[in-house]
Amino acid sequence: MVNKMNIIAHILVTFLFIKLGDLTGIDIFWAALFGVLIDFDHLIKVPLYLKQNGFKIVRYWNWRTSLQEPVSYLWIVPLAVYSRTWVPVFFFTTHLILDYIMSYEKQPFYPFLDFKIPKRRVKIDDFAGISTVVIVGCILLYLV
């Protein structure tokens, strides 16, 4: 539920800002890539998951990678400078903000620093996810 809600929130927010920014052409590609598709980094961890757990279902297994942490600004900002567009940085930031609402553990600066933001015990995932979807959905309805 949480993951589904999360990806829907990413899609909606990305769509909203594409519309608000009146983006066209390659900028839509950058927006989709850094707003939504960057979530596919979880696939990188599939072999590790299978190695550790086989086909068991493990709840709350950490699927996050550093590609969705602030440390990724180190490569996204230069990429944006090269491409002469602010779109990757902006959409990555929106993705990051939505992710950081969630309660799972984060390591913002790994592998440069081992600092961790621990998993919160109070679970507001569903609340935050649903709220985001509702709010963004309303804005979209208003705009469309």
């Binding site: 961890k45 550093s66 592998p111």
Partner: protein, 207 residues
């Protein structure tokens, strides 16, 4: 350079052995001496490129690169590997790359912004090189392509290759980190008093 494919390093060392013997046994040179010699030849090549003799400069750079391979080979074959030697090699390599890229940009009138981005990407990749044990090694070698394509394209390729390498390093280290966390955790799959593992049958039973 870290050679990723297993067995390649052994073959490479075997092929380079006669040359290493020549430098170490006949000329009595230590790996660091060869590194310094390679660096000096590299500086000459940079000077030649600045003076617009870029073809000659690239030939000298080839010799410098060759010596860059010899020093590591001597160190491995004769058990002379040291942390100082490794650091010295990194400093020499990165310095030559910076100078070489700037010299070629000056020579070919390429946008310096792209050159600085390429240099930045190489330094970024170098920052995780030892931790991730991965380095694509496409820096000065890629300049050979100047014979068939424009410098601007080559420098862009260097930028993308090293940004890609940095992303790969992040993934490698993420996997290592998570593997380590599980192996060292006494709790195993239990966190916060909750058993995190469910096999499919238990899950379907609602346990």
């Amino acid at each position: 350079m870290y050679i990723v494919v297993p067995g390649v390093k052994k073959t490479y060392d075997g092929v380079m052995r006669p040359i290493s013997d020549l430098f170490h046994l006949k000329l009595k040179m230590l790996p660091n001496h060869v590194s310094v010699l390679g660096f000096l030849i590299g500086l000459v090549s940079v000077g030649l490129i600045f003076l617009t003799h870029w073809q000659l400069g690239l030939i000298m750079m080839g010799i410098s690169l060759f010596l860059d391979g010899v020093d590591g080979n001597i160190a491995r074959v004769y058990g002379l590997e040291s942390k100082t030697g490794e650091q010295l090699e990194i400093i020499f390599d990165r310095s030559l790359e910076v100078l070489m890229f700037v010299a070629l940009a000056y020579n070919f009138g390429v946008d310096y912004k792209v050159v600085f981005l390429a240099i930045y990407s190489i330094l970024l990749m170098t920052s995780l090189r030892d931790k991730a044990k991965f380095d694509p090694g496409l820096k000065r070698v890629s300049l050979i392509l100047i014979l068939v394509m424009s410098y601007e394209i080559i420098i862009s390729l260097v930028f993308f290759a090293h940004i890609g390498a940095f992303i790969l390093q992040l993934c490698i280290l993420d996997n290592k980190n998570q593997n380590l966390n599980v192996e060292t955790s006494e709790e195993g799959p239990v966190k916060d008093g909750i058993n995190m593992n469910y096999n499919l049958q238990d899950y379907l039973r609602g346990k």
